[in-house]
């Protein structure tokens, strides 16, 4: 399974040092290191500063799963890259969107809503991640009905997303917010998972439960679908390319 880890890699000046201390190789580096532990994953990392913003047609054709972490500069992704990503998802690419990627163009395009819209606060609060669908593949390996992340950015509702096809996690914060934090959608031949944890100035991606979820999620969004040219009649009708 080919896994492309993409990171915006442009932290705000005030966060640069904290991020470097926690993730010396960047978030893409940390995620890459996690995924290479899986013998059946072939991992590549890209950042927004790379050629074609790190999302060239070659990159997108190569990968089966795109792990995507954007942040404040979500508006900078070129429209043709967004269109390419959407097409690939509809043709079978899995998409794992992390944390601030809720604001990404690709997410709001696939959802049809203003996914930028949620409540947020950086306040060093603890978060509790609750499993509300323990039968779900992404929830496998978690021992208890919730686990605690000692510090993360607080996100809260109202989160303008379509009702998830499957709701796996809900996250509550010390301040009393809640977010639908682990959400699955099917779009065409592809699968999408949004997971809210992981502000880049906290060591969230080193936590064992989170690492379990990330690996489960990559496996779940991976469809193995490569139905080039399907469905045929729509193509022949000229409706879709």
């Amino acid at each position: 399974m080919n896994v492309l880890v993409w990171y915006e890699n442009k932290p705000l000046p005030e966060a640069v040092e904290a991020e470097r201390r926690i993730y010396p190789n960047g978030i893409h580096g940390a995620l890459g290191e996690l995924f290479v532990t899986q013998p059946d994953f072939l991992v590549r990392t890209r950042v927004m500063q790379d050629t074609g913003q790190g999302l060239t047609d070659e990159d997108l054709d190569w990968t089966n799963v795109l792990v995507y972490f954007s942040h404040k500069h979500w508006r900078d992704i070129a429209d043709d890259r967004v269109a390419a990503m959407q097409k690939r998802v509809l043709e079978g690419m899995g998409l794992l969107l992390l944390h601030s990627s809720h604001a990404s163009k690709i997410f709001s395009r696939l959802m049809g809503t203003r996914t930028q819209c949620l409540r947020w606060r950086e306040a060093d609060e603890w978060q509790r991640v609750w499993t509300v669908n323990p039968a779900h593949p992404i929830a496998q390996g978690l021992e208890k009905e919730y686990f605690i992340i000692p510090k993360d950015e607080t996100y809260g509702e109202y989160f303008e997303i379509p009702q998830p096809d499957e709701q796996v996690f809900l996250t509550t914060s010390q301040g009393g917010e809640v977010l639908r934090s682990g959400c699955c959608w099917y779009r065409g031949l592809g699968r999408i998972f949004y997971f809210s944890s992981g502000h880049e100035t906290y060591p969230v991606y080193y936590q064992s439960e989170v690492r379990q979820i990330l690996i489960n999620a990559v496996r779940w969004v991976h469809t193995g679908n490569k139905r080039i040219g399907w469905p045929n009649w729509a193509r022949e009708s000229g409706f879709i390319e």
Copy 2:
């Protein structure tokens, strides 16, 4: 629209006085008073001490909507009454289940899971009721994305329910729990709404947002369905009565 308000009416000894102070006519009385404010509702109240446990065939045939509040004595409802309620829901009766009714036999029968299973704590905590589907009919009339109930019993996940067909509310507590607290299901020709707020020793049902939700919910679960004998072939096959 005929509305039957049913209450177990058997509070624990230690709660009798608090409940009487807050709800002098019982919870059924308070809910009945709320619903008669609607010109198109015809309201009847019953308690478990009534004939046929207040759920006779005549009661169930009369009503379009059953508003149900059970508590510690949920095991006492006779199986034939549970079967009658299930049949009526499948034939078009609306069912509004409140608070501790999550443990009721009728709820777990319609869901197929052990709905008794949730986390609970009586600790005078505040609760925040978040609207996560603001387009939903049951959420109409609420001004903000959440409202606060100053004191209520805390319920929390893991709540063994099927994924709701529509998730309208989530409730967080002072202690950090969350519950899928406003949940819709379709079963046969009927509609069901579970709403978690309303411990009987707090004045929750006098709160304006809660009253708005209760009225919306009665209207939503009401189907107007009376398709006696439908679907025909299954009846003719002898599969169902």
Copy 3:
């Protein structure tokens, strides 16, 4: 309730005469005549040839529900009109999409998929519209589990839509196709219903069951939502306008 009926009004040359014979005042005229029978509906009709393509900001602000019928010229709708419609739906406008409107830009934008993609055939075939959620408000008033449309255009799967939040109808054709033909979605503060019946050269919109569904659907997509400025924090954050 304000209802705006919008029709593309540009039939293919070979269909002009058939359509005129069946719908002398156009489809928008026929639908308008149906909706004015409801005492609480205030109806306006627009066509693509009107000012602002019949979808001006004033039109969209005026209406609570937009009934939309586009056909072969779906590509002609200006992007700023599509954006305006999307914004209005997310802010509470109901949207009823009919038949060939599956190809519309507004539909594919709200869904995030290539909704143009389905199988179709004009072959004078009968269609059976099956009710698979008889508890749903849109299915109220239909006596049997299916009804027949003697002749309509045949649509079939694979239809590239997200899984509907609620699946109300499925339609089978004489040739053996099936389409998820009555589909509900929630998007932000708004509600959407797609209904596939109604090729403009057949008298489908005079059929009583279809008329019942259309009226139910307008009532269902109507939210009564006008939460201008909600949710506040996202607006203040600059995330959304």
Copy 4:
């Protein structure tokens, strides 16, 4: 992965010979032979005539997935066996229900509806199985948007089931019926898939697309969950055993 294939094994007298000709070792034999082709499956078969109706606690504890095929004698399963199966599903057992098993007590108990209720006809008709969620794991490996089963029993709506959490397949028949034929549900820690194809007097289970689906389905319903004693607080509260 342990897979228990259970078959009622009591065909109607008039069907005995046809079934023996097509499935010399019974349906359980044929399914067992299919599943042993998978190197990671450990397969056991049981029939209703076995000890404990072939569903002893030892059988249910041993297996990870129960493949269940009941027919006319669905009423004969003892209530304590049904309760045991339900408990095991809620604790993580996968359940694959085939064809006439729609009428089984375990299915209607997990659904809360009268799943016996559907339209049926034995008329040697062809069936078309349409994939409406091509991203779904159970749909993997199917090349086209539909495949044909030359002859099978016709099932049709209205099928009294809750809205599936995921709708994978729809089946149309030569006579114009449709059934929601490939349906997924989550219940507690377990997963359930109902698949309608496979009347025992036709060679349906030798067909390659059907065999692909059956294998995919066993893999999908398998959760790997064995969270004995979870969730704890409900157990300590005495709510569930």
